[in-house]
């Protein structure tokens, strides 16, 4: 396969994968398709797609300024590709933004509701305006063959210089304002990145990135379409980049020194390592490579230096956009694979659009001779499929469509169950209450405290379903005595497993926070379980739903003990937490009302003053762990308590 075809196939696969996830993103929401959290509300989609994307598109304003304002006519040949990259880059940014916004259909609100004090407001407006400018700048290229639009093109040409100047001014604003976005979070961003100079640093690095991006893009397309790299032409751009990068490095360190934060550099924290990696990639390595004339003039090194620099600046944007403030509160954030897939998919789509444009329009001085689109080539016979695959161009399309469809299918398959991910709840299996219930086994009526030291006394249970040691001490024996001995069992034990008389709560209420299937449908149907045919429970001829099913009691005669006070409305057992609150507090509320003792129905009656039903898994992630234990609230039927 030809280089271009191979690349396009890969790109189509990436787009297909992203398309599947995009569907899930809009069908199930952000919780199901990202790892964003209340502690890290911005993630890869902001850091890479939006901030990285805007930076990557900086080539447009840098090159138009070079050619039309500084009049370096020798670069005329790279104006069109640079403007095209910028245009597609900004379209990609907007698409990425639509994924990331919680309410993307409201994005037009920016035009009618204004908050000029917000840097994000300014970025939004600049991006809108600059996208328009780029569109006008690029408009003459794809419409070149349409004579009806000739006068419009001529008009746009007279506007060229004002458009270029407007573009440069707008770019200056929003490239730097992306840095201003973070000025308001001095306590969130790590000190190595937070600086009042952020907007300036962002602007300088954007200029450098714009230059490096032009170099990189020229090398990549030269490789793809087997053209001679424009190394000689690009070398002076590399030399210019060197100066910009030098200014950047000086500004960055000067700023750290001025703020007295240099000691963080040697702190050994992972952020310090990240800082060094980022700075090495974005500035130091490219600076070194481009300073050596030998490397600068040689195609391979020139491309490599640009590639490293581009990666580094994107890393910088990701760092500022979220990576550098993780660990400053709440759970850690690492992007979910879906976030990465969508980001790559957007880049892939933009690249495909770019390749399409250079193949079909005069973006370069001469269009690339595309062997795949050559009409003189004959269809190809596929020995494996035993079929003619059409002309090479068509054959390519077949491959791309197949790649897209398979990738989309794989994407849907890999997504698993977005409905579960959307709930964002961690399964919390329930265990049997610890301690000795006492009554039946001992046969004695006194709540004898005979337990071993360190153990619970007989007749006392400790209820912490998920074994977190934050639970309630339940005086089982005392409750029995108070509520009428044997008669009292059915107050709580409202359903028994077969051959059992006092099944524990954990038998059916199997998750702390979520419903569980009390009928154990899968066990009944499984060959390793009851091995029942569907029709043994479900009425034949009806949909096999819970609406048409035999009552459990048809088989399980003693399932519900006589006199049980709790009704069972369906086959789902409520969560353990709900069940406990329902059964305990249900009684407590009644007693409180009867005996006029409201405190009996208060939380603290059972949760002795410390409402710490904490979820250790959660606070383990939190830097405030010792201070910030989670309180799960509140018990059901709150209104009855009052």
């Amino acid at each position: 396969m030809d280089r271009v075809v191979r690349l396009k196939l890969v790109l189509w696969v990436m787009v297909g994968l992203a398309a599947a996830i995009a569907t899930a993103r809009f069908a199930f929401g952000l919780g199901a398709t990202t790892h964003l959290s209340d502690a890290t509300p911005w993630g890869l989609w902001v850091g890479f797609d939006v901030m990285g994307g805007v930076a990557l598109a900086a080539g447009g304003f840098v090159v138009t300024a070079t050619v039309y304002i500084f009049k370096m006519e020798e670069y005329h040949s790279i104006v069109r590709p640079a403007v095209l990259t910028a245009f597609l880059g900004y379209v990609a940014v907007v698409v990425g933004l639509l994924f990331d916004l919680g309410l993307p259909w409201n994005i037009w609100h920016l035009t009618i509701y204004w908050n000029p004090r917000s840097p994000l407001f300014e970025v939004g407006w600049c991006v809108m305006l600059y996208l328009t400018v780029l569109m006008l700048e690029f408009f003459p290229v794809p419409t070149e063959g349409i004579s009806a639009l000739a006068s419009l093109r001529r008009f746009l040409l007279t506007l060229r210089i004002p458009l270029v100047i407007l573009g440069v001014a707008l770019s200056t604003l929003h490239q730097s304002s992306l840095g201003s976005l973070f000025l308001i979070m001095p306590y969130r961003l790590y000190p190595l990145w937070y600086s009042p100079l952020l907007p300036v640093l962002f602007f300088i690095s954007a200029v450098a990135l714009g230059l490096m991006m032009v170099i990189l893009e020229s090398h990549v397309t030269a490789y793809l379409y087997r053209r001679k790299p424009e190394t000689g032409l690009l070398a002076p751009l590399g030399a210019a980049t060197r100066w910009v990068l030098a200014v950047y490095v000086a500004a960055r360190f000067g700023d750290l020194a001025a703020r007295g934060q240099l000691h963080y550099l040697a702190s050994g924290a992972w952020q310090a390592k990240l800082f060094w990696l980022e700075l090495a990639l974005m500035a130091i390595l490219p600076l070194a490579l481009m300073s050596a004339t030998r490397f600068r003039r040689q195609a391979g090194w020139q491309g490599a230096a640009a590639a490293i620099g581009v990666a580094g600046v994107v890393l910088n944007r990701i760092d500022v956009g979220g990576l550098a403030d993780i660990g400053r509160g709440g759970p850690l954030y690492a992007p979910k694979w879906t976030e990465i897939a969508v980001s790559l998919g957007i880049v892939a789509a933009a690249t495909l659009a770019f390749l399409f444009m250079i193949e079909h329009f005069r973006v370069w001085e001469s269009r690339p001779a595309d062997p795949e689109a050559d009409p003189r080539k004959l269809p190809e016979f596929d020995k494996v499929g035993f079929t003619w695959l059409g002309t090479p161009a068509v054959a390519g399309r077949v491959k791309y469509s197949l790649g897209f469809v398979f990738a989309a299918g794989a994407g849907f398959a890999l997504l698993g169950s977005p409905l579960a991910a959307r709930q964002g709840s961690v399964p919390a299996p329930v265990h049997r209450a610890r301690g000795d219930a006492g009554y039946l086994r001992s046969g004695v009526s006194e709540a004898a405290s005979l337990g071993q030291p360190g153990e619970l006394p007989r007749g006392v249970l400790y209820i912490d379903g998920d074994l977190t040691r934050y639970g309630v001490t339940f005086y089982h024996q005392r409750e029995i005595e108070r509520n009428g001995r044997e008669k009292s069992c059915v107050l709580c034990h409202h359903m028994n497993m077969p051959h059992d008389q006092d099944s524990g709560c954990y038998a059916c209420h199997r998750d702390m926070y979520q419903k569980s299937d009390a009928s154990r449908h899968d066990w009944h149907a499984s060959p390793h379980g009851a091995n029942l045919a569907c029709v043994e429970c479900h009425e034949p001829g009806y949909a096999r739903t819970s609406a048409h099913v035999k009552p459990c009691a048809d088989c399980h005669k003693n399932l519900v003990p006589a006199g049980a006070t709790i009704e069972i409305p369906n086959y789902n057992a409520v969560s353990y937490v709900d069940a406990m609150h329902e059964v305990c507090n249900g009684c407590h509320v009644k007693v409180a009302a009867r005996e006029k003792k409201p405190e009996i129905a208060r939380c603290a009656e059972c949760h002795k003053g410390r409402l710490n039903f904490s979820d250790t898994r959660h606070y383990l992630y939190s830097p405030h762990a010792p201070a910030g234990r989670l309180v799960i609230l509140p018990p059901p039927k709150v209104s009855e308590v009052h």
């Binding site: 309410l103 709840s425 409402l611 609230l633």
Partner: protein
């Protein structure tokens, strides 16, 4: 009157009546632990939580209703706004879901409805409707220990200092919320350090919106300045090129003439 809440953590018994009242009054749903929880009990459905802090102290957490709120300054469409009455509210009909407010808030307060396909930003509203009607928030009303009370900010500040003065051994000599980030409507006095309610650093006194002021106010100047600089450069370079071309043409002409 500037509505405010004073929470005295030394009086709090951890009964969580405030949080229960908040859920009832604001018709919030019961919540379960989620992947995206911060770990402090607040969520899109819990606007008030009671954090079980060190030394047997309970601290109720809620939006601080800053006097100059960072979240309001950040919101690009002005959905987050500070009402004239004092509470900071989010107008969901304007919100675009950028979550910049969540990034900007120094206390990490606003929470997102991550599980929803149409998600909104949610947080304590200082019971806007109730205080507008002359009442007090549900949480302060529900507190059986009077550990969290509602009133005018100046009076509550005076009360806070009075309590500290009367009982210097019991309290740290500081009213949290008096001056950090420009002051907040929700004040705390406590026997323990409450820095864990923030990103763990002691805040300066400047309101956070001031951090962006300089950058935002330079915007028009940067725009015009850059435009003018580019225009000027264009004019100069263009003129130089033209003159050079004319000179070259003139010289060429001058060279050719004698041949004629």
């Amino acid at each position: 009157m500037k509505p405010a809440i004073l929470t005295d953590t030394t009086k709090c018994t951890g009964c969580s009546e405030c949080a229960i009242a908040c859920q009832r009054v604001n018709r919030l749903e019961r919540d379960i632990p989620r992947r995206w929880d911060f770990g402090d009990g607040l969520s899109a459905e819990n606007w008030c939580s009671v954090v079980d802090a060190a030394d047997n102290t309970f601290v109720r957490k809620q939006c601080r209703h800053c006097l100059d709120p960072a979240c309001v300054d950040a919101c690009p469409v002005g959905a987050m706004h500070k009402t004239a009455a004092g509470p900071v509210l989010c107008d969901t009909s304007k919100c675009i879901g950028c979550r910049y407010c969540m990034m900007a808030c120094p206390f990490g307060i606003p929470r997102y409805e991550w599980s929803n396909v149409v998600p909104y930003v949610r947080k304590c509203v200082l019971c806007y409707d109730r205080i507008k009607a002359g009442g007090q928030p549900a949480c302060t009303e529900a507190c059986p220990a009077k550990a969290t009370i509602f009133g005018d900010r100046d009076e509550l500040l005076a009360e806070a200092h009075r309590r500290i003065r009367r009982n210097p051994g019991k309290y740290l000599d500081r009213v949290w919320g008096e001056s950090e980030v420009g002051g907040t409507s929700v004040l705390y006095i406590s026997g323990i350090d409450l820095s864990f309610l923030t990103y763990g650093e002691h805040f300066g006194k400047e309101p956070l919106p001031q951090t962006t002021t300089l950058a935002m106010e330079s915007v028009p100047f940067a725009f015009l300045g850059m435009g003018a600089a580019m225009g000027g450069l264009y004019w100069i370079i263009e003129r130089r090129n033209r003159l050079q071309a004319e000179k070259a043409a003139g010289e060429a002409k001058g060279q050719r003439e004698p041949e004629k």
